[in-house]
C-alpha cells in the first residue's frame, strides 16, 4: 500500500450489478445514438447559441430539451434540468426496468441518488430578469424548491419513478454523479435498500457558461483534451441513469459490474487541481484497492480530461505514475463536452458501453498528443475488447472520484 493512501482507505467492496443504464447527451438520445456517434468518432460540440449567451465558446447542447413537456402533475418541477431528466428517463426502457425492480423489491427498497452541480439554477437566472420593479420580488410563477434547489432533480426522479426509498442529490461539483454510485452502493451494502437509481443530470445555464469564461477556462473551439494545443473546456449537458443492485448468484459473463470506487480530496485549492495530482492518484489507487485489482488489470481509462491546460497535465502525470504508459486511455469530452455534475454518470455509461460492445472510444479532436504526457492515448477507436475500465471525475473544491467497472466474466486481475 502506498504512503499516499488516506487514513480511512476504502475496504474491498462487494461488486454491484449495473443491471440497466441509459445516457442522453449532445450525441443523441439513448445508448444506440450515443454508441453510433462514438463508433463514428463524431463530436456533438458546436458554437454556443444557447439562450442569450454571447460568448465565443462551444457547447454540447442536447437537441429538443425546450420542446420536452413534463406531465401535468409535475408542472411545479418544470425547468430545463428536469425536462432533460424526463427526456433521459424515457430512453432505453429505463422506466420499465425500474418498475420491474420496484415490483420485485418494493418501492421503499430502492434509493435515488442523482448527481448535479447546478440543478435548475437557470430558472432563477431567468426569474431575476423579471423582478418586480418596485419591490424587487421574484415573479409569482417562480418555484424555488422544485426547480432551482439542488435537490429538485433527485426529487423529480424519485417521484416520477414512483419510488419511496431514501433519496438525495449528490452535489460535489464535477465529481457529483460518480460519487452518486458510492452513495447508492454503500446504502445497498449496509442493507438499507436492495437497489438504487443513480446517475446525474446537469443542463446548460448562464452561471456555468459565464463562470468558466470568467476563469478563462472555456475554449473558443470544440475542446481538445490532451492535445498539445488544448486551450480549455467546452460545457455540455446530459442525463445518465443506472439501476444498480446486487449481482445474481451466477452473473452472465457479459454482465457489467461496479467493482470499485475511490474518493479523495486535494486539500489544496478550490478551483485548481493539486499540482502533483495527489488527490487524483489517491482516488484511482483506492478504486483499484476496493476492486482488489492491480493497475495492469485495467484495459482502458476514461480520463476526466476537461481540455484545460492544468487539469489534463495533472491527471496525465498521475495516470503515468500509477499505470505507466501502456494502458489505453482517452477523454470523451471532445465528443460530449464537460457535462459537469453529469460527467461521472455519462462517462460511466460510455465505459459500460465499451465493455458491452467490445471497443475503446477515441478522444476526438486530439490531433497532437501533449509530449509532456506520453500516454497510450487513443486518437482512433480501438477494436480490442476491454474487460475492465476505470473512469475519472474530478471537481471544484478538490473533490476526486474514480470508478472501476468490469465484465463479470473478466479473468482474474488481483493485486
Amino acid at each position: 500500500m502506498s504512503l499516499s493512501m488516506p487514513a480511512c482507505a476504502a475496504p474491498k467492496v462487494k461488486p454491484l450489478h449495473l443491471s440497466h443504464f441509459t445516457a442522453t447527451t449532445c450525441l443523441g438520445r439513448g445508448l444506440a445514438a450515443n454508441l453510433a456517434a462514438l463508433h463514428g468518432e463524431r463530436s456533438g460540440l458546436a458554437p454556443c447559441r444557447f439562450e442569450t449567451v454571447n460568448l465565443p465558446t462551444c457547447v454540447g447542447e442536447v437537441a429538443g430539451v425546450d420542446d420536452e413537456r413534463l406531465p401535468a402533475a409535475f408542472n411545479a418541477f418544470d425547468c430545463r434540468n428536469n425536462r432533460l431528466a424526463h427526456l433521459g428517463l424515457a430512453q432505453d426502457h429505463f422506466r420499465d426496468a425500474v418498475a420491474a425492480a420496484s415490483a420485485r423489491y418494493g418501492a421503499d427498497r430502492i434509493g435515488v441518488f442523482v448527481g448535479t452541480s447546478t440543478s435548475g439554477i437557470l430558472q432563477a437566472e431567468l426569474a431575476y430578469r423579471r423582478r418586480d420593479s418596485v419591490t424587487g420580488a421574484l415573479p409569482q410563477d417562480f418555484r424555488y424548491a422544485t426547480t432551482q434547489n439542488t435537490f429538485s432533480v433527485a426529487d423529480f426522479v424519485q417521484r416520477t419513478l414512483r419510488l419511496r426509498g431514501p433519496a438525495a442529490a449528490v452535489s460535489s461539483a464535477c465529481a457529483s454523479s460518480a460519487k452518486a454510485f458510492g452513495s447508492g452502493a454503500r446504502m445497498i451494502e449496509a442493507g438499507l435498500i436492495d437497489a438504487a437509481v443513480v446517475g446525474g443530470v446537469d443542463s446548460l445555464c448562464l452561471t456555468t457558461l459565464y463562470g468558466f469564461s470568467s476563469l478563462q477556462l472555456a475554449s473558443t473551439r470544440p475542446c481538445r483534451p490532451f492535445d498539445r494545443e488544448r486551450d480549455g473546456l467546452s460545457i455540455g449537458e446530459a442525463a445518465a441513469f443506472f439501476l444498480i443492485e446486487r449481482p445474481p448468484q451466477a452473473p452472465s459473463p457479459e454482465a457489467i459490474l461496479l467493482l470499485g470506487i475511490g474518493e479523495s480530496n486535494d486539500a489544496y485549492h478550490m478551483s485548481s487541481p493539486h499540482p502533483e495530482g495527489v488527490g487524483a492518484r489517491m482516488a484511482m489507487e483506492q478504486a483499484l484497492a476496493g476492486a482488489g485489482l492491480a493497475p495492469a488489470a485495467i484495459d482502458y481509462i476514461n480520463l476526466h480530461g476537461t481540455g484545460t491546460r492544468s487539469n489534463d497535465l495533472v491527471e496525465g502525470r498521475a495516470v503515468l505514475a500509477l499505470f505507466g504508459n501502456a494502458t489505453y486511455c482517452s477523454s470523451t469530452k471532445g465528443s460530449v463536452g464537460h457535462t459537469l455534475g453529469a460527467a461521472g454518470g455519462v462517462e460511466a455509461a460510455i465505459g459500460a458501453l465499451a465493455l458491452r460492445e467490445g471497443f475503446m472510444p477515441a478522444g476526438v479532436n486530439m490531433h497532437d498528443l501533449d509530449p509532456a504526457m506520453p500516454l497510450a492515448y487513443l486518437q482512433r477507436n480501438e477494436t480490442l475488447a476491454p474487460q475492465r475500465v476505470l473512469s475519472n471525475s474530478f471537481g471544484f473544491g478538490g473533490t476526486n472520484c474514480s470508478l472501476v467497472l468490469g465484465r463479470a466474466g473478466a479473468p482474474s486481475g488481483a493485486t
Binding site: 460519487k179 438499507l192 463562470g211 470568467s214
Partner: protein, 265 residues
C-alpha cells in the same frame, strides 16, 4: 427496513441562535438552562490561509465551526476523518449575487464567486483548512437534508468501519430569495459517528425508516428553530443525547417516510 443502521455518537458540534456551542446548547436542550434567543455568532474561519479566509461566507464559517467542535469533543484529528456535508442549498448570498449580475448588462461574474457557488464549497474549504484528503460527500435533500446526511454517514460507518463526521448546516438567504426560501440565518449540527464506543461516547443510535410523524420540540421557541432551519430537524435527537436518554425519537425526512432514531446512552 429489516435492520436499523447504527453508530456511536462520539462528538457533537452545534451553532445556532441561542445555541452558541454544543457545551452551552447541551444544558439548554437537557432542560438545565433556559433557552434565550440570541443571534448566532459565527467565528471567523481562521484555520484557513489568509487568502481563502477573506473569500468565504457564512455557509463555510458555520460548517467549519461545527466540524471542528465535534472533532475536538471526540479527541479526533479532523485531517483523518471522512466527511459527509449536507445542506438544504448552496450559499444563498453568492447565488443572489451571481443571478443579479447575470440579469444585468455586465455578466462577467467573478471567478471567486463562481467557485464559491458550488454546493460542495464548504467541503472544499474544510479540506484546505484541515488538510483532510479523506473522502467527502456533499448532499442536498431540501428540507430532508439532515436525515439524508445522517443516513449517508451511518452507511459509511457501517461499510468502512471508520469514523465519519456528519456536518449539517444552513445559512440565510438575502432578498429576494428569502421570500421564496425563508431561512433566517445560519444553523449547524455536526455529529462524529463511529463504529465502536469511544471514551467520549454519548451513546449509540439505531436508525430506521418509519411512517410515524416527526416529534416536535416541547419548547415553542426551540420548535421554531426546528421548523425554521432544515439542519435543526435533528434537534429532537440532540435532546436525547444531551439528557443521556434511552428513547426513540422521530425526525423529519420526506413526505413518504421519517427516520426513527433510538438512542442508547
Amino acid at each position: 427496513m429489516p435492520r436499523p443502521a447504527a453508530a456511536y455518537v462520539e462528538g457533537i458540534g452545534l451553532l445556532g441562535p441561542g445555541l452558541p456551542t454544543w457545551t452551552a446548547g447541551k444544558a439548554v436542550l437537557a432542560g438545565d438552562a433556559p433557552y434565550v434567543e440570541r443571534p448566532a455568532q459565527l467565528p471567523p474561519a481562521d484555520t484557513l490561509p489568509t487568502a481563502e479566509r477573506r473569500r468565504v461566507g457564512d455557509v463555510v464559517k458555520i460548517a467549519l465551526a461545527i466540524g471542528y467542535q465535534a472533532a475536538a469533543a471526540a479527541g479526533q484529528d479532523p485531517a483523518r476523518l471522512a466527511t459527509v456535508f449536507t445542506a438544504s442549498g448552496a450559499d444563498g448570498v453568492v447565488c443572489h449575487e451571481i443571478c443579479q449580475m447575470l440579469a444585468s448588462n455586465d455578466r462577467q461574474i467573478s471567478p471567486t464567486r463562481f467557485h464559491n457557488s458550488v454546493h460542495n464549497a464548504p467541503s472544499g474549504y474544510w479540506s484546505i483548512a484541515t488538510g483532510a484528503r479523506t473522502p467527502s460527500t456533499s448532499l442536498c435533500a431540501f428540507d430532508a437534508s439532515f436525515s439524508a446526511g445522517l443516513l449517508e454517514a451511518l452507511c459509511q460507518v457501517e461499510v468502512a468501519r471508520e469514523p465519519v463526521l456528519l456536518i449539517a448546516y444552513d445559512s440565510g438567504y438575502p432578498e429576494p430569495l428569502q421570500r421564496v426560501r425563508p431561512i433566517p440565518g445560519a444553523f449547524g449540527v455536526a455529529l462524529l459517528l463511529a463504529p465502536g464506543r469511544g471514551e467520549a461516547s454519548l451513546g449509540r443510535i439505531d436508525v430506521e425508516l418509519t411512517d410515524d410523524v416527526a416529534d416536535a420540540m416541547s419548547d415553542p421557541k426551540l420548535e421554531t428553530l426546528r421548523t425554521g432551519y432544515p439542519a435543526a430537524r435533528g434537534l429532537p435527537l440532540l435532546v436525547a443525547l444531551a439528557g443521556g436518554l434511552a428513547r426513540r425519537q422521530v425526525l423529519d425526512y420526506f413526505d413518504h417516510h421519517r427516520l426513527a432514531v433510538t438512542t442508547t446512552p
